[in-house]
Symmetry: C2
Subunit: 226 residues, 2 copies
């Protein structure tokens, strides 16, 4: 089975406070996006990488790719995540597509393999993790409320999310513009999505407080990568 990785890196990084795209943020000695690309380059079934970037940043990403990185098809992203994902899927040719947050630099080869296997079998597969911390609601006015959410049946959904290309294409074409993730578009069609175990190290770099953790993971990853 041929699989395409579709990496979404069109975000602006408002929450990280850098003012520029998180993709270029250095983690250890490499831009974040380079870590993400290398993660997929190590998976034999991934025969193609489609990189969805802000139209104004194509040139900068192209130069980055010329520094000895795996080849990738560059595609301009849309205004919302749904549109960026659809642009990426439309440019992909694999029977399976693995749609991934560009800001998750440390998905392991094993994780990507699990998602791929689930997508081949069921048509749609996502990595999930249990909730370890207590979940509470914040009330307006900055106090916690007494409500506690039942965490037993709730999972955190990560990426890559793997799909048969024909299924995710149809799902994204009909999805609401604010669908939170690609699995949501498939679930809205009434199709099944298989959960497989995610990884705590597969974090999404979102706020400045995530950087120390990302640096720590980069340190342990370095030996495999160079």
């Amino acid at each position: 089975v041929r699989a395409s990785a579709v990496i979404l890196a069109a975000g602006r990084g408002h929450r990280i406070g850098s003012g520029e795209n998180k993709a270029f943020l250095p983690i250890a000695d490499r831009p974040l996006l380079v870590w993400t690309l290398l993660a997929f380059a190590d998976v034999p079934e991934v025969s193609e990488i489609v990189l969805v970037v802000a139209p104004g940043e194509k040139e900068r990403v192209r130069r980055l790719l010329q520094t000895g990185l795996p080849p990738a098809t560059l595609v301009g992203g849309g205004d919302v995540r749904r549109d960026s994902a659809l642009a990426g899927v439309d440019a992909a040719s694999g029977e399976i597509v693995l749609i991934h947050d560009g800001a998750r630099p440390f998905a392991s080869v094993e994780l990507i393999g699990r998602v791929l296997a689930g997508a081949i079998e069921v048509g749609a597969c996502v990595p999930v993790l249990p909730i370890v911390d207590t979940l509470r609601e914040i009330a307006p006015g900055d106090s916690l409320t007494a409500a506690v959410l039942d965490r037993e049946r709730i999972v955190r959904v990560q990426t890559p999310q793997g799909f048969r290309r024909s299924l995710i294409r149809r799902a994204l074409q009909t999805a609401e513009p604010d669908v939170p993730d690609d699995a949501g578009a498939v679930l809205a069609l009434g199709e099944a999505v298989r959960p497989v175990p995610g990884e705590e190290t597969n974090l999404k770099v979102t706020v400045p407080g995530d950087l120390p953790l990302a640096e720590a993971i980069a340190e342990i990853r370095r030996p495999d990568r160079t």
Copy 2:
């Protein structure tokens, strides 16, 4: 203000699959519990550490403490978290108590300071983090449901949780046996709990998959600790 740290380390570690208490699990070159103790030893306001352990493990922990660690009062834990926390609070003498999961080895000095300041001001304070991943429900039969939870107002609650000792004592004495955390006991009394920013590195070691991340954090912490 004098503060007491109450560290809950009476758990059995079922989910980690070690069959023994997680407290003794090696992280980098030290038992997990040693990392936890050292985190509090670095905070000047913490004048006392109370360590709640399974009654049958007191002797083993006592020997561990004799290896040059900060002094701690050992207390036997109860059957449920609530009872262990109350036993710890009853043995503490500080005006403020900081109740902490023994399985969170990497709370920073800054984090502990934020919780302490909030507890002094409001009476109860907990570290929280936003939810970055999409939250979904798992249906019986291992498929995801289409329900997506509104994550905007939901936070993950970590420890240490800081309280005026008199308040948390009253709260735990009247709390349900299955109260998920100590803040829950205070909220059940109708008292306010202030949220302050938590830290992603303040992870709870719960399943074997958490160990690579814990090792990574230990690596970046090592220079400050030795």
